[in-house]
Point group: C2
């Protein structure tokens, strides 16, 4: 098998994902799942040598640029990973000659990517090569690479060419403009460039170190360089005459800074940033690859101690959970609250680095329970982008804060207006999400409330959360439409979570969440009045809130149109859904998006087909509101109509299946989630990780099987492990305290995380 999940042994058991055989057709997959990062930057795992179809990529969180006429995206920064290697005049490339052995592996425990290759050149020369790289968790500006070359059956010159190549694009779109390239007196190089529209400077500096191991002892050697330049490109080329059996190593240390880095806290000039980058490079180089790696590994060890989930059960499940946690920490800009998590993390160009509801509904729960400080940071992003949300509301004729469906640095709407071509009309399909997929504002409010419930972080609410929450409530109050005939408030012409329906009236998910949010807004106001009058008065003043407004919210919440058929228990996804055409979905199951090859967009949107969980996710988020019977009825109705063409769908189905006691189905959906990125389908994630789906994996484990659930202001733990799972250990923060949770044979053992003291041991636990 090309991908191996079982290579790790001993202390690395279920920590290693390996690629055992190289093929250019699998590049996208491994570039994505093997991506490295530290929340500041994300580096796709393109190989040192170049292949057709590769997508070299490295992105800096929050560094956006917009090409004229397109939507803003994370520019691919100059490539520094490429090494062109000539072995006795023959270029190292796996597509020529013969691959004798190949193994590339990502070590999730230590955050390092290692590749071992033994290769025979077309000329018959055999060489062992090892490639190592990591993106430092200890110093977010540092990336280290090491290449080790050992000729097996020949002596000859080795030539290495590597440096910076700023001729990169985002699938053809150029964001970087010419800056400076220089060699410093000590032989370091640097390249500066600017983004063409956002005008952010980027500085990359690199230093090289060469080692020769002969007769068992390793010594540093000095090599002369030649310079190769092109536009936005500076490479150094080195020659060394290598003897058979000796081992030659190159260490390349790269230091990366941008003009909007948090430490500068303003738009800093090149004259300041270049010396900063060179200084940091110098410091790193004095430490060297090995020490830098120790620091990096230590940081990962501390993170795993805080967040690790230990699972006694199928090895793949354990690995998949670690894979999710590992990528959470790589993709999340924990250092900077001005930015949030992109839908693909920092692992690819899909969705252009934009932030969706994926963060709040799918990923945030992990952080809320595991690293509440980071969760807080992520919510602060919505505070920093309030201006954008207010602007959007205003432009649409509403009040308060209407959040962007796709959000980037400023919070303004960044959803593209057009997508793929309709096979019937021959014209591009209009994407309406940015206009009418409005539930995101409710989702953000939901996340704030959730965070507040779990953490009790009153200060956050006073200073930031309440303002966002109230502004969203105000938006909804201005958004709803009063229907005199029914004496109800409605929300017409929207898209719900299921994006295979659009321009629908009264999407149940949206309406229910709005009802909930307006109720909570009134509760929040009452709570503030009681707990922090000063804060409330400030908010009233700043936001010009008057009592009548709160009363109005109460009325709207009460009269919100939230249908539920009493007899059947069914919630209609939107008005008229149940009258739409039913179609045979069997040809399209498991083939994501294939329905759009056959049917026009118009046909799809007018049929009873769901891209993803819609009513089903409502049953999850507002679980307290619905009886088991209602959940079951709606599951039975909607589940067969759902294609899961969105990666957001299976994990939610896993949780509801678990709620319904159908652990087998829950486990099937859990596994489906795990396989979206990590599975054997080599074309599943070329454009980047499905961050929300990774969040879903964690939720399926913790909310689903471990049965951790916030309900009526309390934390209930009511586990029900899948058949193959014997034991699971997790860490949970609840209202300022950290717990260690061991679940074995569906019994919960609750310990104090710090002291190890056993606090409870029961079938079911409720924490007040």
């Amino acid at each position: 098998m090309v991908i191996s999940y079982t290579q790790g042994a001993g202390k690395y058991k279920n920590w290693i994902i390996a690629e055992n055989q190289f093929s250019i057709y699998n590049q996208g997959k491994f570039e994505t799942i093997f991506s490295l990062g530290n929340g500041y930057m994300g580096l796709r795992a393109a190989t040192e040598e170049s292949y057709p179809g590769e997508k070299r990529g490295c992105y800096i969180a929050g560094l956006f640029d917009r090409f004229d006429g397109e939507v803003t995206e994370l520019p691919n920064i100059p490539d520094f990973i490429q090494f062109d290697i000539l072995l006795a005049g023959e270029e190292f490339n796996l597509m020529e000659g013969k691959v004798i052995s190949y193994n590339r592996r990502l070590n999730l425990k230590e955050g390092i990517l290692i590749r071992d290759v033994e290769w025979e050149s077309p000329g018959g020369r055999r060489t062992k090569l090892t490639f190592k790289r990591f993106v430092s968790m200890a110093d977010r500006h540092i990336v280290c690479q090491k290449v080790i070359i050992k000729p097996v059956n020949y002596s000859g010159p080795v030539n290495i060419t590597t440096g910076f190549n700023g001729q990169v694009t985002n699938s053809g779109t150029q964001h970087l403009i010419e800056g400076n390239k220089r060699i410093t007196p000590n032989g370091d190089i640097y390249l500066t460039t600017r983004t063409q529209e956002s005008d952010v400077i980027l500085v990359l500096a690199a230093g090289y170190r060469f080692l020769l191991k002969e007769n068992g002892s390793e010594n540093e050697i000095n090599l002369k360089h030649r310079i190769r330049t092109g536009r936005r490109k500076i490479l150094l080329s080195f020659d060394f005459p290598l003897e058979e059996g000796d081992e030659f190593s190159v260490e390349k240390t790269v230091s990366i800074y941008s003009g909007i880095d948090i430490e500068f806290n303003k738009w800093e000039r090149e004259e300041v940033i270049v010396p900063t980058a060179l200084d940091n490079l110098g410091r790193a180089q004095r430490k060297g690859f090995d020490l830098l790696f120790e620091e990096h590994k230590d940081k990962w060890a501390r993170l795993w101690k805080e967040m690790g989930i230990e699972l006694t059960g199928p090895d793949f499940d354990q690995l998949a959970v670690r894979f999710a946690l590992y990528h959470f920490l790589q993709m999340t800009p924990t250092h900077d609250s001005r930015i949030s998590i992109a839908a693909k993390g920092l692992s690819g160009e899909g969705y252009k680095g934009h932030v969706f509801w994926d963060t709040e509904i799918f990923i945030l729960p992990f952080f809320i329970y595991t690293f509440p400080d980071i969760a807080r940071n992520l919510l602060l992003y919505r505070y920093h982008t309030l201006a954008g949300a207010r602007q959007k509301a205003k432009e649409n004729g509403y009040r308060g804060a209407m959040y962007a469906w796709e959000s980037a640095r400023t919070g303004e709407e960044t959803t593209p207006k057009y997508g793929h071509i309709d096979p019937v009309t021959g014209k591009p399909i209009r994407i309406w999400c940015g206009d009418i997929e409005q539930h995101i504002s409710a989702d953000i409010a939901y996340a704030i409330w959730y965070y507040f419930q779990v953490t009790d972080d009153c200060n956050f609410m006073y200073n930031y959360g309440a303002e966002i929450f109230l502004e969203i409530a105000r938006f909804w109050a201005s958004r709803v439409e009063y229907n005199q005939m029914r004496d109800s408030y409605e929300i017409n012409d929207v898209i719900g979570p299921d994006e295979y329906s659009e321009h629908v009236d009264n999407n149940a998910y949206t309406n229910y969440l709005v009802k909930w949010q307006l109720q909570k807004a009134v509760e929040l106001a009452d709570w503030l009045k009681e707990r922090n009058k000063e804060c409330w008065e400030r908010l009233c003043q700043e936001l010009e809130i008057v009592e009548e407004e709160l009363e109005n919210w109460e009325i709207i919440a009460e009269k919100m149109y939230t249908p539920l058929d009493k007899e059947s228990g069914l919630i209609e996804q939107f008005e008229g859904f149940m009258n739409q055409k039913e179609i045979d979905l069997s040809p399209y199951r498991g083939k994501i998006g294939s329905i759009l090859d056959d049917m026009s967009w118009e046909e799809v949107t007018s049929s009873q087909v769901l891209k993803q969980a819609d009513v089903v996710i409502l049953l999850y988020l507002l679980g307290d509101w619905f009886t088991r019977d209602i959940k079951k009825a709606n599951w039975d109705y909607y589940e067969p109509k759902t294609l899961h063409d969105s990666s957001l769908s299976p994990a939610i189905h896993a949780i509801i299946a678990a709620d319904l006691g159908d652990i087998e189905t829950a486990y099937t959906y859990f596994q489906q989630s795990c396989k979206i990125d990590l599975g054997e389908d080599m074309k599943s994630c070329d454009d980047g990780l499905h961050a929300a789906s990774l969040g879903g994996i964690w939720q399926a484990v913790v909310m689903g099987f471990a049965g951790v659930r916030l309900t009526k202001g309390k934390l209930r733990i009511n586990p029900c492990l899948p058949r193959g799972w014997q034991k699971i250990t997790l860490k949970i923060n609840w209202r300022g305290k950290k717990y260690l949770l061991k679940i074995e044979e569906n019994r919960v053992k609750l310990k104090d995380f710090n002291t190890g003291e056993v606090l409870m041991e029961e079938r079911k636990v409720v924490l007040p």
Copy 2:
């Protein structure tokens, strides 16, 4: 051998260049030498399938775009050549599986590129594939491709995906912005895009035709498509279940238009251009691949009849000459006088499509003697860009027309300001050519006079040529500096043809040519006064020429500083050259540019080392002015100091060696010229053809060995063939008449081209 020159047999003898073995390391070479074109567009020969290091490229003559902070260049237009081919689920790519046989060949006679491959997939499936393409000479907007697929040992589905991909860049620089993509009701596709700065619209339309040959009979079949889109990208995907032994063909016809095409003659709108492109596509599709190819082949046959050189001698020499002529016709925008020939033709991105003195001094002579109308068009380019030249003069404080060293659409200076990094200082080297390589203005004047002498095209002189010529003379008169000490006019701080010296005073080449030009300007004025008083008066009025100005030119010409050491006969390349440091050039010979890896720019420019012919080219252009002894003395002095690091150098050395009677050396240099692009060095021309060097090949044959020379207003033909050449036949236009020239055993037989009547047969011929 990878490259074969001898594959052509029978009527294709010495017409075929072949690649016998595929390697990704040779891609640049073959993409360039196998490029196809028709003067409107040039298409690099990237393969249908994709490989690392490929440079897919297609350029439209004169369609420039400038990215902010860079110099203007020819944007790479959307790729249409790529075909992704799945054979029973396995992707066709030569780097996987096994290549059983491979042959790709360019047919110079018919302008078609054909590739035959037999390939065994990793899964053991054997398939024969043939790829054909041509860029129509009969309709400059049309490109045709055909792919033929024949499974040898299996039956299975074949899948083809191809369309337009506008995600192309020029080494990372983006010129194309999002436009429209559509499918028409009859299944054709089109893509529109605009250049980001020059705002020129580009329209590409394509249609497909499928054929199935079974049991010996071929029939057209219809296939359903699926659509794949991305930004600036539209692809169609087709499936067909293919049986072992049957043959499946796809024909793709592409129609390409731009908003600045000569037929529109203004900046036309998309609403007009799209229908034009679709109409033309429709017309072409009705003809089909075979008929379109017949029309294309006929056009080439007519061209070869007009320009062909037949050579009885070494096969490679014949092939090399044909290679040069073939590419002249591909790279020259014969249809549009607003543009001229780029230094790399339309075959690559080197020198960014800019026009240098290469056109006038190296390539133009071919057109003057072979297609005088095209030569006229090329000179008109300088007329159309007079405004830019006047502007440049003005900006530099001069009068008249100071032509740009590198010229694009408008004639304004487009030379980049900085180049490679100096290994000593670590900083980019300032490129001064755009500021001070001023001889180009004299070169253009020289070319006008040359054209006029050979063609007697008085109307050209009256309407265009005289104006350019006088404006250049005026520039020089304002440019020269009077040296009171020597009572001479000097030109200080320039770069001569040899670019390894800069900021030199009194470059001999420049000064001699300026002296010549000012003399001729006065002559021209006298001639105009006598022949066309009206024209002269108009010019005097428009250009505000007064008699004193002419007198001044005469004085400057007389007193121009043009040193020649009477004793030695040596002409010092510039003042002080002979005092510069002499260095050992042997490590750098034959390794182009390698001296700059070792020495700083400062060292190189202060040594006695020549990049290329400088005094030697002067001896050629003003051959009448120097005795054989002077030529010999200067040859002996400069030739050993010349690295030929410019491709402009060897052919000129071939001609002077021939003039000196050293035919063996001349032949060596001729062969060196032939090999610059066509030779076995696989890294010689990745960035495009050396157009001037191809011109040099023609000049070495015609001016050198055939001894055709314009001298004192007459055409002298004094051949001296290399040892291995028995016979050569050429066609020469002279003063309105076309001649057929046969040279055998160094005797000249002169025939009337049209009637075949023998006019002269002598050792040496002089035509008045």
